[in-house]
Symmetry: C2
Subunit: 252 residues, 2 copies
DNA sequence: CGGCCGGTTGAGTACAATCAATTCTGGTGG
DNA sequence: CCACCAGAATTGATTGTACTCAACCGGCCG
C-alpha cells in the first residue's frame, strides 16, 4: 500500500472543499492559490499536538483558528453526564476553531498526532476585509461544513445501530474519495470509542454493529482500522442515501 | 402582549446573528447596514409561499438563495424509508438555500405562510467579490448556523425523549431570547409532527414527552402552541447545557 | 511476564417504535 | 351559529433494540 504523499514542507494554510456552485464530480478542490497560501503563511504559525491532547476547550476565549496540516482532530462537547459527543473529525486542509461571542463553541482534541497552522484571530480579522477572495473561500468551506453537519444529523437520527455504522463508514469512504485517496478500503483513523461518540452509541453497541455487519457478509474488517465493503448492494441498503440502490429493493 | 413590530415595507434582505468575535450578551444583532440592505434589495425579489408548500427540493439546480422575511421554513431531507428529518427551522432574517456542486443540499418547505427574499445566485456571485463587508457578514451567519447544527446534533444524540424535548424547548426559547422577544412563554410555530422530525422521534413519542414533562410539573402547555416553563430547575436538569444547574444534583 | 488499555461478548432492563384506537381542534358549509 | 369533517394529537398495548453493567479477551509496552 502506498503512503499518502504529504508535502514535506508546507506551503501555507490550505482549504479543501467541494465548490458550492460548480460541479466537480464529487472531488474536492484546493481553494487557495499558492499566492494566497503564502500570504496566509505570513500570519500563521505551525503547532503540533500529541495524540489525545486537548487543543482548546469550549468556553475558552477564542484567540485563533486552526487549519489541519496532518493528523486527525475531533471537535466535541462534554455532555452534562460526562459523556462526550463528537461533532466532526477534521482532516488535513480542514478548518476549526468555531467561536460565538468570542468563545470557542466546542472543544477539540487530537485523535492522532497532529500538525496544524494556527492563525490568530486579530491577524485574520485585519486580513479579511482586504481579501475578498479569501472570504469567499471561507464561505465555501463553511458551506461544506454545514453540509457535513447535516449528514451527521441524518446519521444521528437513525434508529438502528447497523444503519448508523453503515452511514458512518459511507461518510468516511466519501471523505477519502473527495480527497482522491484509494476507495477500495476504508481507513478508520480513530478508535471505536471515538466512533461511538460520533454516531451516538456506546462502545459496546459500536462493536456489536461491526460484528453484525461482518456476520452478514457486508463488510470485512482486517485490522480494526481497515474495513472493506464486500456486499455493496446490502451496504447501501443500510446506509440509505444512495438514491439508486436503495429504491430498488426494500425487503428490510 | 405587544405584536412583534415587523416593518411593513421591507428595506431589503436582513441577516441577524450573534457576532462570532464580539460578546453581545446573547442578543443577536442585525448585521447589515441600511445601505447594504438597499443594495441587496436591488438584486432580490419578494416571494410568498403558502403553508406546507415546498420551496425547493434536494438535488434541484441551485439558482438562488433565500432570506426569510416572515414565517417559518423547515429545511429537511427525505430518508430512504420515506421518513423526513428536519435539520433546522428558519425564521425571519435567516438564510437558506445551501447548495453543493450546484445542487441544493436539502429540501425546504413553508411550515407557516412565508414571505422571503429570493436572490439569484448569479447576481449574488457578481456582487460578492465587490463587497467584502457582505462576505464577512455571510461568514458570521454561516458560523452561527454551524453552532446551531452542533446543538442540534447534541439534541439528537440524547437517548431519552424527555431530554430531547427539553433541549428542543430550550433551543426555541433561546431563539426567542436572541431575537429580543418575550421569554416567559415559549411559542411553537410548528406542529408536533414537525417537532418529531426535528428531534428524531415519532409523533407519538413527542406527545408522550410533552405529557411527561407536564405531569412532572416542569412545563405547562396552554394551547399546544404555547408552553410555559414552571420548574426551571428540573427543566435545566433534563435539558443539560446549563453548567450551573446540571452539576448540582443528578438524582436522575 | 504482567498490567493496562482498547475492544468484544453476555444477560437483563429500560425505553421508544409500532400499530391502532380514540379524542381533540380548527376550519367549512349549511 | 352550529354540525360536521379531516387532520392533528393523545393514549394504550406490545415488541424490538440499544443501554447498562460486567466479565472476558488480546495485543502492546514496560
Amino acid at each position: 500500500m502506498t503512503k499518502t504523499h504529504k508535502p514535506v514542507l508546507a506551503q501555507g494554510p490550505a482549504l479543501r472543499a467541494l465548490h458550492p456552485w460548480t460541479p466537480t464530480g464529487g472531488r474536492a478542490r484546493q481553494l487557495l492559490s499558492d499566492q494566497e497560501r503564502a500570504r496566509l503563511a505570513a500570519i500563521a504559525s505551525i503547532v503540533r499536538f500529541k495524540k489525545g491532547e486537548v487543543i482548546y476547550r469550549e468556553g475558552d476565549r477564542a484567540e485563533a483558528i486552526f487549519n489541519v496540516i496532518q493528523g486527525v482532530v475531533a471537535a466535541y462537547k462534554e455532555d452534562s453526564n460526562q459523556s462526550r459527543r463528537i461533532f466532526a473529525f477534521l482532516l488535513s486542509d480542514d478548518l476549526f476553531g468555531l467561536s460565538a461571542e468570542g468563545k470557542y463553541a466546542n472543544s477539540t482534541r487530537a485523535v492522532s498526532p497532529v500538525t496544524v497552522y494556527r492563525v490568530s484571530l486579530p491577524a485574520l480579522r485585519s486580513r479579511l476585509p482586504k481579501d475578498p477572495q479569501l472570504e469567499f473561500h471561507l464561505i465555501c468551506k463553511l458551506c461544506q461544513e454545514l453540509c457535513q453537519a447535516q449528514r451527521h444529523a441524518i446519521l444521528l437520527s437513525q434508529r438502528k445501530a447497523i444503519s448508523k455504522l453503515a452511514m458512518f463508514l459511507q461518510l468516511i469512504e466519501q471523505l477519502q474519495f473527495t480527497r482522491g485517496e484509494r476507495t477500495d478500503e476504508i481507513f478508520l483513523p480513530m478508535q471505536r470509542s471515538d466512533i461511538g461518540e460520533y454516531v451516538g452509541m456506546t462502545l459496546a453497541a459500536v462493536s456489536r454493529a461491526f460484528q453484525s455487519l461482518a456476520r452478514r457478509g457486508i463488510i470485512k474488517t482486517q485490522n480494526r482500522r481497515y474495513v472493506r465493503i464486500v456486499d455493496r448492494m446490502q451496504f447501501e441498503r443500510f446506509a440509505g442515501e444512495s438514491p439508486l440502490a436503495s429504491t430498488i429493493k426494500s425487503t428490510a
